[in-house]
């Protein structure tokens, strides 16, 4: 499905060999960090994690289209690959899984990534509000900052998604709705979750152009997201992209997929590994060789080690922050509670 007008200009430029190699490096870094994070959980370094195994192409490819000088991304809790691609500090990002601070320790304004949050579809409306703010503020060059919001097939059942699509279309807001349809909402498969065949099909009802793409083909994802951004940035309103992918791992480190799907089903659903696909493409086109792949993996391992060290060094936040960060202007009741807490917990 493709109801988005054909892109022109920069958005239609093919990816250069250097960019393709960069995409591969990013995907390897994300894959390695993702699988390591599961290991960290098993080792007791972090209490929990939401893996994204198999979704590297969808996340890296879409995150690659973001202009962090003007755009803003609204994630849920499974967008580590997007964050890494956008250059977010990964120790600060992982701190939410370390249970250091809800939302993570990175600065959302600086990184252009809204805090991680667990109410699926909760942030989809935020993207519409932020995007409408770009319209209201206007820009000197006539090119708007674009909001990109991530959600899944499961979240597409939430009313907020429908309100967001309607609001965005009515207000012609520069939003890219990026749906990662990974086949599963924890244990419920897409066919028992999404009526109407696909999330992309729903966009037509709101008059929103949509693309349904192979979410495991990183090149297709980059191209689609760039087209969508160009469309929204020029003031043409929202776009919906449904990237068809597959959640190869569990929903979270507490989940047991064996209770709702067989290994055969997993193999069938997953198809070819998105990393392997890009690797074959790079080899066939003579863009990269085995030495490059080895180097990319070595860099990913070094990066993971650095992040793990950072995470392990991360202590708890001081308890006073619990009280200090509720409001910009605190209240006497909170001050009193903080004073009591100090008195009763910090005595020696």
């Amino acid at each position: 499905m493709d109801t988005l007008p054909v892109a022109s200009g920069d958005a239609a430029e093919p990816l250069t060999p250097a960019q393709l190699r960069e995409l591969y490096s990013l995907m390897v870094a994300v894959r390695h960090l993702d699988t390591s994070a599961i290991a960290w959980q098993r080792q007791g370094i972090i209490p929990g994690y939401a893996p994204e195994l198999g979704q590297e192409a969808a996340q890296v490819g879409s995150g690659y289209a973001v202009d962090t000088t003007r755009d803003f991304v609204f994630p849920t809790y499974r967008e580590m690959g997007v964050a890494r691609t956008m250059g977010v500090d990964m120790v600060a990002y992982m701190s939410t899984h370390k249970a250091t601070w809800h939302g993570g320790l990175y600065d959302p304004q600086e990184s252009r990534l809204a805090p991680i949050q667990a109410v699926v579809a909760g942030s989809v409306l935020h993207a519409v509000g932020w995007a409408h703010g770009q319209t209201l503020a206007g820009t000197a060059d006539g090119k708007l900052g674009v909001a990109m919001t991530y959600f899944g097939d499961g979240a597409s059942s939430q009313g907020d998604v429908h309100e967001a699509l309607n609001f965005a279309a009515v207000m012609n807001a520069p939003v890219v709705f990026f749906v990662q349809n990974n086949g599963w909402a924890i244990s419920v498969p897409t066919e028992r979750q999404v009526a109407g065949g696909s999330v992309a099909a729903r966009a037509a009802g709101y008059g929103i152009p949509a693309l349904q793409i192979d979410g495991d083909d990183v090149i297709a994802v980059v191209e689609a997201t760039r087209r969508a951004f160009a469309h929204a940035r020029s003031g043409n309103g929202p776009v919906l992209i449904e990237a068809m992918t597959y959640r190869r791992g569990p929903h979270s480190t507490s989940d047991d997929p064996g209770r709702y799907r067989s290994l055969d089903e997993e193999r069938d659903g997953a198809g070819m590994d998105p990393l392997e696909r890009l690797k074959q493409r790079l080899l066939a086109d003579g863009i990269a060789d085995e030495a490059f792949f080895a180097e990319a993996l070595a860099a990913a391992k070094a990066e993971e080690e650095q992040i793990r060290t950072g995470i392990q060094a991360l202590g708890s936040r001081p308890g006073t922050e619990m009280f200090d960060l509720v409001f910009q202007e605190t209240t006497p009741a909170l001050q009193a509670q903080a004073a009591n807490w100090r008195e009763e917990s910090e005595h020696v």
Binding site: P108, W130, F327, Q328
Partner: protein, 346 residues
Amino acid sequence: MSNSTLESGKVHTPASTTVMSMQQALNRALDEVLAENPRTLIFGEDCGRLGGVFRITDGLQAKHGEQRVFDTPLAESGILGMSVGLAMAGFHPIPEVQFDGFAYPAINQIVCQIARMNYRSRGTLPMPITLRVPSFGGIRAPEHHGESLEALFAHVPGLKVVSPSNPHEAYHLLKYAATRPDPVIFMEPKSRYWQKGEVDTASHDADGGSPTGAKVMRAGRHLTLVAWGAMVARCLQVAELAAEDGIEIEVLDLRWLKPIDTAALAASVRKTRRAVVVHEAPLTSGLGAEVAQLITQSCFDTLKAPVERVTGFDVPYPSGDLEDEYIPNIDRILFGIQRVLEYKRG
């Protein structure tokens, strides 16, 4: 109000005092807020061309433009969720939910998002959102058009709650709320929208009080009636009647339901040694329980009787025909006062 004004020795400036209804006072406050801060936006259902079903935003779109004052699709979660994004983009949204009962469909965005974003983002994404909610009963409205949600909102960490009781308070409290960096739920007593009163536009607290504090609306020495919103006017009526019997009642308008001005509460009750809390919301787990506990904690040694509550009942808000039975009326408040005055230790 006049008593405390006289007590503090300050005098109103006549030139800045105008008689207007609460609807006009709110409208004027919004007009001025829009003029003073170009980042403020007013939006919701029917608040643009129509000027709101209660006309609170009357004329504001024509004056400030369709970008600053606009109609949204009919979806409360959408209105509040959009407010989060606009606040993140540097705006100061003043959204409206048309009636209190329609805040329920937006509770997820209010509780999980608006109230938590400052905390979640470690103070980097403040939520300067003033949510206007036409609140409480008294207008014989259909179901869901008259609810008292203050305890629900006040219970949520990250929200502040305020309710004005007269045009003067409405004007100033709204202007104050709309300049704060934190989310404020602004509960407008819809039964008071058309009541007129003096508004001193020059001075918020001519009696020297704090803009975040409670306010003594009538001084007395025998008992404190604690109320907010529409119940303040009713309590003032009760105090007037009681005065005929020589009972001098102090009426404390709590104004801020979160944070509660504990010091003002304590000061009043330490003086009168007796208190009755009056609210329209259901009794169980209502804000009256919180107020009573705060009084107990700060005035236990001086209290002459347990704090009484005169409230709505633990029933769904009734139809118009039964409304007068539900909302605390003068008789029920007088009975509450009597129970406290006649209390004998066992």
